[in-house]
C-alpha cells in the first residue's frame, strides 16, 4: 500500500495532545506511522484543520425499522433544497433520501463529513441478518450494531433471580450469533409491556407478568456487562423518553450505575452510556409548562465519571422518528396524527416509526432544540460528551456540521432563538441564552473523536492520530489561525471535507467520493463460561416460542465479509 504524508495541517488530537499546532501526519499500510519515505504522496494541508476520523456512537443506519422508514416515506426522497437525494450522481451508485438515506448515501455522506465509524444503535436480534445485509451494502464507513436486551424474555427470567452468570452466558451467546457489539437497552420493560398495549413509566414500574422492574433489568445488565468485560458499557435509552417531566426518571436511571466499577481491558471508564439525553432532560407537567431540565441533568453527569452521554440534538428538520420504544411511537402518533408503524418482535423487543416535523413555530420543538445544545455546553468533560442527533430521530446525521456551528458560535444560537415564533416563551423555558460558551475545535475533536472511541473501547485504534492507530484522517477547509467571520463557513467546512482518508486510502477529496473504501464490520466475541442450563433454555425457547429454528437464527460469516472481531474475556 502506498505511503501518504499530510503536511503542515493544524492538528487537533487528544491522543497526541496537539491542540491546533502545525504537524505532519505520516501514513503507511493503513496505519499512522512516525515517518514515511521520500516517495510518499504528499497532501498539503496548510491552512486546514486535521483531525482523526470521527465516530458516531449512536445512529439508526441499518436494519428493519430504518428500512421501513425508507420505503413507507417516498416523500423523504422529494424534500426541497440542496440536500435533495440523489440529484447529482458523483459516485458509482445512486444516492437517495434525506432523513433516512439509502445505504449508499449513508456511507458516502459519513465519508464526506470525515466520519469513519458508525454504531447502529438498535439491532433486534431476530432481524440481525437484515441489519448485517444492510451494513454489508453500506460503503466505506466501518459499522457495528448493538443488539437490544432490555425487553428480552431470557434476560427477564435470569435477572428475576438476579443470576448474573446466566445472563452473561446468554449475552455472550447472543453477541456471537448476531455478530453484535454490546448491550443496548431501550425503555427497559416498557416495550414488553407494550406487547399488551401498556408501558413502564419509571424504574420501579413492574413489567406485566415477568415480575421484574426496569431498575432491576438495568442494574443486572450493568453487572453482566462488567462481568463480561465488554469494550462498551450498557448503552441505555431510559424509560419515559420524550415526556414532559421525565428528568427525575433519567436521574433515577443514572443512579443505578452508582457503586459499580468498570472492569475491562479496553480503557473504557464509564458504566452507563446515556443516549440521546436531550429527549430525557425535560421538566414541566405537560406541553404548556414544558421546560428544560438540562441543568439538573448536567449537574449530576458532571459529578459522576461513570456516566457518558450523547446529546441527540434537534436540528429543526422534517425527519423520521424510529425506536425500539414501541409505546413511545404510538404516543407520538397520537400527538402529531401522522402515519404510524409498529413492529413487535417475538421474545425480544418491538419498534415503531413515525414521521416528525421539528418546526421552529412549535414551542416544544424549539425547547428541545435548546435542551440539546445546553447539555453539550454545560458539560465539564468533553471526553464524556458526544454529539449525535440520534439519527434520524432528532434530525439526520448529515446535520452534524450544523450542530457544530451552533455549539461553536453563540451568535448563530442567538439568531436562531430570536427567530422562533414563540421566542420569548422558549427563552423563559430554557437557559441557553445565559450560556456564553463556544466550543473550540479541540473540544469538537474530543466530542466526536477521542470521546466516542474511548467510550466504545476503541481508543487504541480509532479517534486519534498517534503512530500505530488506524489511518482514518479528516482534513477540513478551516484555518484555525484565521477562523471565518461567517459561521456558515464552519458548517460548510465540516459538511464537505477537503480530504477524508479511510484506512490510509483517500476516499473523499473536495467533498467528492473517489473510492469505495474497504468497510469493516466490528463485533465482539465475548468469551464467558458456558452454561448448560442457558444452552438448554435457548433450545427450549426455540422449540416452543420462536417461529424460526435455532439453526436458522445465527448470522453466518458471509454477512460480515470484512470482519473486525474484538475478543473480550469474562472477569470470572
Amino acid at each position: 500500500m502506498s505511503e501518504i504524508l499530510i503536511k503542515n495541517g493544524h492538528v487537533f488530537d487528544v491522543v497526541t495532545g496537539i491542540k491546533g499546532d502545525k504537524a505532519d501526519i505520516a501514513i503507511k499500510d493503513g496505519k499512522i506511522v512516525d515517518k514515511v519515505s521520500s516517495k510518499a504522496k504528499t497532501i498539503d494541508a496548510s491552512g486546514k484543520t486535521v483531525m482523526a476520523g470521527a465516530l458516531d456512537i449512536h445512529a439508526h443506519v441499518a436494519g428493519p425499522k430504518v428500512n421501513l422508514g425508507r420505503w413507507f416515506r417516498p416523500e423523504d426522497k422529494m424534500i426541497r433544497g440542496e440536500m435533495r437525494g440523489g440529484i447529482v450522481k458523483e459516485t458509482t451508485r445512486m444516492e437517495q433520501g434525506f432523513s433516512i438515506p439509502s445505504v449508499f448515501r449513508t456511507g458516502y455522506s459519513y465519508a464526506r463529513m470525515g466520519y469513519g465509524f458508525a454504531m447502529e444503535a438498535a439491532m433486534p436480534p431476530l432481524y440481525a441478518r437484515h441489519v448485517h445485509e444492510e451494513i454489508k451494502d453500506t460503503p466505506i464507513v466501518d459499522e457495528a450494531a448493538l443488539p437490544v436486551f432490555g425487553n428480552n424474555w431470557f434476560v427477564f427470567e435470569y435477572l428475576k433471580e438476579h443470576n448474573i452468570e446466566k445472563t452473561a452466558a446468554y449475552i455472550s451467546w447472543l453477541l456471537k450469533v448476531t455478530k453484535g457489539y454490546g448491550i443496548k437497552v431501550v425503555n427497559p420493560g416498557g416495550t414488553e409491556a407494550w406487547g399488551w398495549g401498556l408501558n413502564c413509566l419509571g424504574i420501579n414500574d413492574e413489567v406485566p407478568f415477568f415480575d421484574i422492574t426496569p431498575g432491576e433489568i438495568t442494574k443486572g445488565l450493568i453487572e453482566a456487562n462488567e462481568y463480561l468485560g465488554l469494550p462498551h458499557s450498557v448503552h441505555i435509552h431510559p424509560n419515559m423518553l420524550g415526556d414532559p417531566g421525565n428528568a427525575p426518571t433519567t436521574i433515577d436511571t443514572m443512579k443505578l450505575a452508582e457503586g459499580y466499577k468498570a472492569k475491562n481491558k479496553f480503557g473504557r471508564e464509564q458504566l452507563l452510556h446515556m443516549t440521546h439525553l436531550q429527549f430525557h432532560s425535560y421538566g414541566g407537567t405537560g406541553w404548556g409548562d414544558f421546560c428544560s431540565n438540562a441543568k439538573e441533568i448536567m449537574d449530576y453527569v458532571n459529578k459522576h465519571p461513570e456516566i457518558t452521554f450523547d446529546t441527540g440534538n434537534v436540528t429543526l428538520d422534517e425527519t423520521t422518528t424510529m425506536t425500539a420504544d414501541g409505546p413511545f411511537e404510538h404516543h407520538l402518533s397520537a400527538l402529531n396524527h401522522l402515519k404510524w408503524c409498529n413492529v413487535d418482535v417475538e421474545l425480544e423487543t418491538g419498534s415503531g416509526v413515525v414521521p416528525f416535523i421539528y418546526s421552529p413555530n412549535v414551542f416544544p420543538c424549539a425547547v428541545q432544540w435548546a435542551v440539546g445544545l445546553e447539555l453539550a455546553l454545560l458539560a465539564k468533560d468533553p471526553m464524556r460528551t458526544m454529539i449525535t442527533t440520534d439519527h434520524p430521530n432528532a434530525g439526520p446525521f448529515t446535520r452534524y456540521p450544523r450542530v457544530f456551528k451552533w455549539l461553536m458560535c453563540k451568535k448563530t444560537r442567538d439568531e436562531q432563538m430570536a427567530s422562533f415564533k414563540h421566542s420569548g416563551k422558549v427563552a423563559d423555558a430554557t437557559i441557553l441564552n445565559e450560556i456564553d460558551r463556544e466550543l473550540t475545535l479541540y473540544e469538537i475533536s474530543q466530542m466526536t473523536r477521542a470521546g466516542p472511541a474511548k467510550a466504545l473501547g476503541l481508543a487504541n485504534m480509532m479517534g486519534g492520530l498517534a503512530p500505530g492507530m488506524n489511518a482514518d484522517v479528516a482534513i477540513y477547509n478551516l484555518n484555525p489561525a484565521k477562523m471565518p467571520t461567517d459561521p456558515e463557513e464552519i458548517e460548510k467546512a465540516f459538511s464537505l471535507s477537503a480530504y477524508f482518508l479511510k484506512n490510509g486510502e483517500i476516499v473523499c477529496q473536495d467533498g467528492q467520493i473517489v473510492h469505495s473504501g474497504t468497510k469493516r464490520t466490528f463485533w465482539v466475541d465475548a468469551k464467558a463460561p458456558e452454561s448448560k442450563q442457558v444452552n438448554r433454555d435457548v433450545r427450549e425457547k426455540f422449540l416452543r416460542y420462536y417461529t424460526v429454528t435455532q439453526a436458522n437464527y445465527e448470522v453466518p460469516d458471509s454477512y460480515a465479509p470484512n470482519p473486525f472481531v474484538i475478543e473480550a474475556n469474562a472477569n470470572v
Partner: protein, 439 residues
C-alpha cells in the same frame, strides 16, 4: 446410505417454513424425501430431480422453435439488449435470493432499467396504503405467543399458505396462549365459504366488492356510532357482535390477502383495514399483517428499499436518481402502454400473471426470461436462461411475510454446468461494462 438435511427453508410461499427435513442421496445429487412441508412445498423439492429439466439457455428461432445456446451467447444477448434498449423493464425477483437481487440492481442501475417485483400485481396496493397511513404490525411469533383474536379477511391460507394456520395463527400453543386453538376466536371475512372459513368460529360473508363499506362499518361500531341495518350484505347485529369480540381480546391480528388488495377499492381497502387496527389499539392490542405470496417478494422490497428507498416500481432510467410512481412506473402499465422496448423477467412469470395485452407487448419486444423452469413466460421470450434453483440448489437470504429474514439452504447440487442467478448476473454486469465502458 442417504443423509438428512435439517432446518431447511421452503422456497414456496411467504410463510417461509424453516423446519423442513430433506433426505438426499449419498452422492448429494438427488432428493429422495421431503418431511414437514405442505404438498406444494414438498413438490418444489421433489420435482428438481425429475426428468425433462432444461439445463442450458435456449434461443427462439424464426420458426418459433427453441435452440440450445451457450451461457456466453445468452449473456451476450442480454447485455447487448440492455445496452441498446431505451427503456428496459426488469420484472420479477420474488423467487430468488437477496444476494442475487443486489447484483441484479447493479446491472439495472448501469443499464438504466425499470426494476419492479411481483408486488405490482399482488400487495402493491398494500404498500401504497402503508405509505399513506403506516402499519401497526408484529412478527408471526407474537401472533403465536400472544394472539387470542384472529381475523382472516380476503385471504385463504388453507390453500395459499398451507402451514400458516398450524405454525402461527390458529393452532399453535405459545407462551401466553397455552390453550392453542381453544384460546383463540377466529373470524373469517370472505365473499366465499372457503376452507379457511371452515376453521373459523365466525364466518362473515361479505357481498363481493363491499369490503370497504364493511370495514367502514366495523370502524364506526368500534367508535360507538350507529350503522345501517345491513352493510355489504352483513346484518348489523353480526357486525356489532364481531367488533365486540375483537375489542374484548387481549391481542388481535388481522391477516389480509388478495381479496382486499385486488378487489374494488384496492389500496383504500387496506387503508381502512389499517385504520380499523389503529382504532382497536385504543381498546386493546391489535396488529395487521399482509399475507405476502411469493417466498421472497418481501425480500425484493427490502433490498430495493435499502438501495433506492422504494419497495417496487423503481425507475432507474434517469441514471442519476431513482423515480417511483406506481401507475406510471409499474410493469403492467408500462407494457400495456408499450412504453418499454425490452424486457427481462427474472424469477417470476409474466405470462401466467399479467393481463393479456401486457403479456402480448412483452412477446413483441426483445425479451429474456431467467428462470429455473419452463413457464408461460419462457415460451414467449426470445431467450430463456435456466439457472440453479434458489432454496434447493443455491443458498441465500429471503424475507418472510412479516419481514423476518431467514436463510435458504442448498440441499443438492444443481445439474452440472448450470449457473446460479448470482453468477449469471455478475457475468452480465461484466459484459455490460465491456460494452458501455466503466464510467
Amino acid at each position: 446410505m442417504s443423509k438428512v438435511v435439517t432446518d431447511v427453508t421452503c422456497p414456496f410461499c411467504g410463510t417461509l417454513c424453516d423446519d423442513l427435513e430433506i433426505t438426499v442421496s449419498d452422492d448429494g445429487k438427488e432428493i429422495i424425501d421431503c418431511q414437514n412441508a405442505c404438498a406444494i412445498g414438498s413438490e418444489k423439492f421433489l420435482h428438481v430431480s425429475k426428468e425433462g429439466r432444461v439445463t442450458r439457455p435456449r434461443k427462439r428461432q424464426p420458426d418459433g422453435s427453441y435452440k440450445e445456446i451457450s451461457y456466453d451467447e445468452a449473456i451476450e444477448y442480454t447485455a447487448q439488449m440492455l445496452a441498446k434498449a431505451k427503456k428496459t423493464l426488469w420484472y420479477g425477483w420474488a423467487s430468488t435470493s437477496c444476494e442475487a437481487m443486489a447484483i441484479g440492481h447493479k446491472v439495472a442501475e448501469k443499464a438504466g432499467t425499470i426494476v419492479d417485483n411481483c408486488a405490482t400485481v399482488c400487495h402493491g396496493s398494500s404498500l401504497l396504503a402503508i405509505q399513506d397511513v403506516g402499519v401497526p404490525s408484529c412478527t408471526l411469533g407474537e401472533v403465536k405467543n400472544r394472539a387470542d383474536r384472529i381475523v382472516f379477511w380476503g385471504c385463504n391460507p388453507a390453500h395459499a399458505h398451507p402451514r400458516h394456520m398450524s405454525r402461527y395463527s390458529i393452532f399453535p400453543r405459545g407462551f401466553f396462549t397455552t390453550k392453542g386453538h381453544k384460546g383463540r376466536k377466529i373470524i373469517c371475512v370472505d365473499c366465499r365459504y372457503t376452507d379457511t372459513a371452515k376453521c373459523a368460529d365466525e364466518f362473515i360473508q361479505v357481498e363481493q366488492g363491499y369490503d370497504y363499506e364493511l370495514l367502514d362499518a366495523f370502524r364506526t361500531v368500534a367508535r360507538g356510532e350507529p350503522i345501517p341495518d345491513v352493510v355489504g350484505g352483513v346484518p348489523k347485529e353480526k357486525i356489532i357482535s364481531a367488533v365486540n369480540t375483537l375489542k374484548e381480546g387481549r391481542f388481535g391480528v388481522i391477516f389480509f390477502g388478495m381479496g382486499l388488495t385486488h378487489t374494488l377499492g384496492r389500496n383504500h381497502n387496506i387503508d381502512i383495514a389499517i385504520n380499523l387496527t389503529r382504532d382497536l389499539n385504543d381498546y386493546t392490542k391489535f396488529s395487521i399483517i399482509a399475507m405476502r405470496g411469493h417466498w421472497n417478494v418481501t425480500g425484493s422490497g427490502q433490498v430495493l428499499s435499502w438501495q433506492y428507498g422504494f419497495p417496487y416500481c423503481v425507475d432507474l432510467t434517469r441514471r442519476t436518481h431513482a423515480r417511483y410512481n406506481p401507475g406510471e412506473t409499474s410493469s403492467v402499465d408500462l407494457l400495456r402502454r408499450k412504453e418499454v422496448d425490452a424486457c427481462i423477467c427474472i424469477a417470476s412469470d409474466i405470462g401466467a400473471h399479467f393481463p393479456i395485452e401486457a403479456t402480448r407487448h412483452m412477446a413483441q419486444i426483445p425479451s429474456v426470461c431467467i428462470d429455473p423452469h419452463i413457464n408461460l413466460t419462457t415460451e414467449i421470450s426470445d431467450v430463456h436462461i435456466p439457472v440453479a434453483l434458489v432454496g434447493v440448489e443455491v443458498e441465500g437470504c429471503a424475507y418472510r411475510m412479516d419481514n423476518v429474514p431467514i436463510a435458504c439452504r442448498k440441499v443438492v447440487e444443481p445439474p452440472e454446468g448450470m449457473l446460479t442467478d448470482e453468477e449469471l448476473l455478475e457475468k452480465v454486469y461484466d459484459r455490460l461494462c465491456g460494452i458501455m465502458g466503466d464510467a
